[in-house]
């Protein structure tokens, strides 16, 4: 029993990896729908963050399934990358609003061919 407990207790290995992956897929699709459906650029950025987190979750799940640290390393990378992306993205949004007085992505189509 104790052995069995000991076997089980080493934390979250009792949650199957598929759960994490399905959750990450659901989160990713939610984010994607947000990107495609929302017009407000700030919400689009938020949705992108959700998609990034979904990707991060997938890495974590895979890493824990194979008992390797690579997944967590990748998640740190994603976090850093997301921080950089948001800082640049928000700066662009500020400039965009400064020049065009809108954050509606459908109206910011001055680069159309």
């Amino acid at each position: 029993m104790a052995n069995a407990l000991k076997k089980r207790t080493p934390t979250m290995n009792n949650i199957p990896a598929e759960y994490g992956l399905v959750l990450s897929a659901l989160l990713f699709v939610t984010g994607l729908i947000g990107v495609l459906a929302r017009r407000n650029i700030i919400f689009i950025l938020l949705s992108i963050e959700i998609m990034l987190n979904a990707a991060g979750l997938a890495f974590i799940s895979a890493g824990s399934k194979w008992g390797q640290a690579d997944g967590q390393v990748m998640f740190i990378f994603i976090l850093v990358m997301a921080a950089a992306e948001v800082s640049v993205g928000l700066a662009i949004v500020l400039q965009l609003f400064h020049f065009l007085r809108t954050v509606n992505s459908d109206q910011t189509n001055t680069m159309r061919g």
Partner: protein
């Protein structure tokens, strides 16, 4: 002899000075350079000619190598023999007379004065190059040079669109002939490997049998060039319109010198032409047809200069007739005499035209012999020489020479002779028609009062000298029945073969009586119809048929209209049809495809961020799908 290069170089120098600095030189100085360069050239010619007369052998002066490409070699080389001596003498001396005349008659020009003399000097230089050239390429350079000057001088008063159009017509019609000639040169070089005239003749004579196809083709192509330049059927239509130029131009280029370049070319290549009997026949027939057609057209012209232009065509027709029967010397003799009397006729017509303030319609003239006595006498002498008045005029001797050789030569025939005789009748009729219309008949008060100035010495002197020449130039060559003096033909025999005559039963004396009678008959006809009772003609012309005939002849047998229908309109039609360039449609199609593709791809660049994101998502899904469900 070493002075030979100066002969064309001096007028060329005059051209360069006038062309480069003409605007800054005062008018008397322009006249001095323009006429002076030709005078000096004439003096140089005289020195060369005197030398030539004493040594009596052909001389070639090689100045420098012009082109050397592979085996092809062409020199700037001048050659002189008895044929070119005669040509050069006529060009420089008659040219000088006309330049002298022009210094006064063109003095009303302000801006154009130096331009005029620059063109005239360039013309003289090109013409001298043409007749002195040792090879056909250099000859062709001169040939194109005179064509260019002819174009420039016909369109001298370029502000009038009619003149420019006449200039273009002259240029384009002669271009047809020039192209044929250029092809002839190509063939000669291809076959014989040289363009030197003496070598061509020597090689052709030794390689090609008489009547061989290649000889016929090459000489026919050269004939094409000659026909274009000398305004013979079928390329004659440009000459009457060329009268749009100033009168000295008509006298120099379109009467005395340039239009006889074709005669010179055929005479120069005489051995080549005698290898091609069909072409010889063509030359004679073209000449006979032109002299008749132009002679009849000259009978109904009302414009004095157009009448003279038709007369020039007709007289060159005589020269072609002579060339065609192998009477080379007779053709060159007639060329010389014709240069004198036709220059005289044009210059005295110029005096009349200038006195009447550019009135050229002969029916508005009349009775001018008292007002313009000098012009009258000079015109009368020119006319007499033109209509071959027996014994006293040069024209009689030259025309009689041609007619007799036409009959007596082994190439001759009674039909060609008959055409010549008929032409002689027309010639004296139209010639004296001009005299009667201009100088006799009723004086018209409006014209008489408008004559204010009489010509000055620079106009009088050339007229008197040319009149003297038109009378006495014939005495260097008398027919056998009149003393048989043959200075000219003996001189020419160094460069031109003698005419092979066949003995005929016809007496030369009888023929001379006949041609003299014909000449006098022509004058009598002119007297009856244009002076004694002009009403015959007037009544005839009032009838519809007569009017139609008059229009038909006055328009030069409507050949212009024929060419318009045959060549100009189909060409214009093709040009109009092809205005948007049929071949270009293919390339336009390619451009159109690209434009459609561009538009399609442009639609994808909507500038809508969400759509791009959708595209990326779909693409990613596709790639994943391909990886997973492979």
């Amino acid at each position: 002899m070493e002075l030979l290069w100066l002969v064309p170089a001096l007028p060329l120098m005059g051209f360069l000075i006038l062309a480069l600095a003409g605007k800054r030189i005062s008018k008397p100085f322009v006249a001095l350079i323009g006429a002076g360069s030709v005078a000096l050239s004439a003096l140089a010619t005289l020195v060369v000619a005197v030398n030539f007369f004493s040594y009596q052998h052909a001389y070639t002066q090689t100045l420098w190598t012009w082109l050397e490409i592979g085996k092809f070699h062409s020199d700037i080389a001048l050659a002189i023999d008895s044929l070119s001596v005669v040509m050069v003498l006529v060009i420089t001396f008659v040219g000088f007379m006309i330049h002298l005349y022009a210094t006064e008659s063109m003095s009303a020009e302000e801006d154009g004065y130096s331009r005029f003399f620059a063109y005239m000097n360039l013309f003289i230089a090109s013409m001298l190059l043409l007749v002195l050239a040792d090879n056909l390429l250099l000859l062709y350079l001169g040939w194109e040079g005179v064509g260019l000057c002819s174009y420039l001088l016909i369109g001298f008063w370029y502000k009038d669109a009619v003149n420019s159009r006449a200039a273009m017509k002259a240029f384009i019609v002669t271009r047809v002939g020039d192209t044929a000639m250029a092809l002839g040169l190509f063939i000669l070089y291809q076959e014989l490997g040289t363009l030197r005239i003496s070598e061509i003749l020597r090689l052709a004579l030794s390689i090609w049998p008489s009547g061989s196809t290649i000889a016929v083709i090459s000489s026919a192509l050269l004939l094409g060039g000659a026909v274009g330049k000398s305004a013979q059927i079928p390329l004659h239509t440009w000459l009457p319109d060329a009268m749009a130029g100033p009168t000295p131009v008509s006298a120099l280029i379109h009467a005395a010198t340039m239009v006889t370049a074709g005669v010179y070319l055929i005479a120069r290549m005489n051995l080549l032409f005698s290898l091609a009997p069909p072409v010889m026949i063509a030359v004679a027939v073209i000449g006979a047809a032109t002299l008749l057609l132009a002679g009849i057209s000259a009978l109904v012209q009302s414009d004095i200069k157009r009448a003279l232009a038709y007369s020039t065509m007709s007289q060159i027709g005589y020269m072609f007739l002579a060339l065609g029967v192998g009477a080379w010397t007779a053709a060159i003799f007639h060329f010389m005499v014709h240069a004198f009397f036709k220059a005289l006729l044009f210059l005295s017509a110029g005096v009349v035209i200038d006195s009447l303030h550019h009135e050229r319609d002969m029916f508005k003239m009349g009775g001018l012999r008292h007002q313009l006595p000098l012009a009258f006498w000079c015109f009368l002498i020119g006319t007499a020489s033109l209509s071959a008045l027996p014994l006293i005029t040069a024209g009689f001797y030259s025309k009689d020479f041609i007619l007799w050789e036409t009959l007596a030569s082994d190439h001759g025939s009674i039909w060609l002779w008959a055409a010549g005789i008929a032409g002689a009748l027309f010639t004296s009729a139209y010639a004296f028609r001009m005299v009667f219309l201009i100088f006799y008949g009723k004086e018209r008060s409006e014209t008489v009062h408008s004559i204010t100035v009489q010509p000055g010495i620079r106009i009088k002197a050339p007229l008197i000298i040319l009149a003297a020449l038109a009378l006495i130039a014939g005495f260097v060559q008398m027919p056998g029945t009149l003393g048989g003096l043959s200075l000219f033909s003996a001189f020419m025999s160094q460069s031109l073969p003698l005419t092979r005559t066949v003995l005929t039963a016809i007496s030369e004396t009888a023929m001379q009586y006949l041609s003299a009678t014909i000449s006098l008959l022509g004058i009598f006809i002119a007297y009856i119809f244009f002076l004694y009772n002009p009403n015959y003609i007037r009544h005839f012309v009032q009838k519809p048929l007569g009017f139609a005939v008059q229009c038909f002849l006055a328009n030069g047998w409507n050949i212009d209209r024929l060419y318009d229908i045959l060549f100009v309109r189909p060409f214009v039609f093709a040009a109009r049809t092809n205005r948007h360039d049929i071949i270009d449609l293919f390339y336009q199609l390619i451009a159109l495809l690209h434009r459609v593709a561009n538009r399609a791809l442009c639609a994808s660049q909507s500038g809508n961020v969400r759509r791009y994101a959708f595209g990326i998502a779909v693409g990613a899904a596709l790639i994943l799908g391909m990886v997973v469900f492979k």
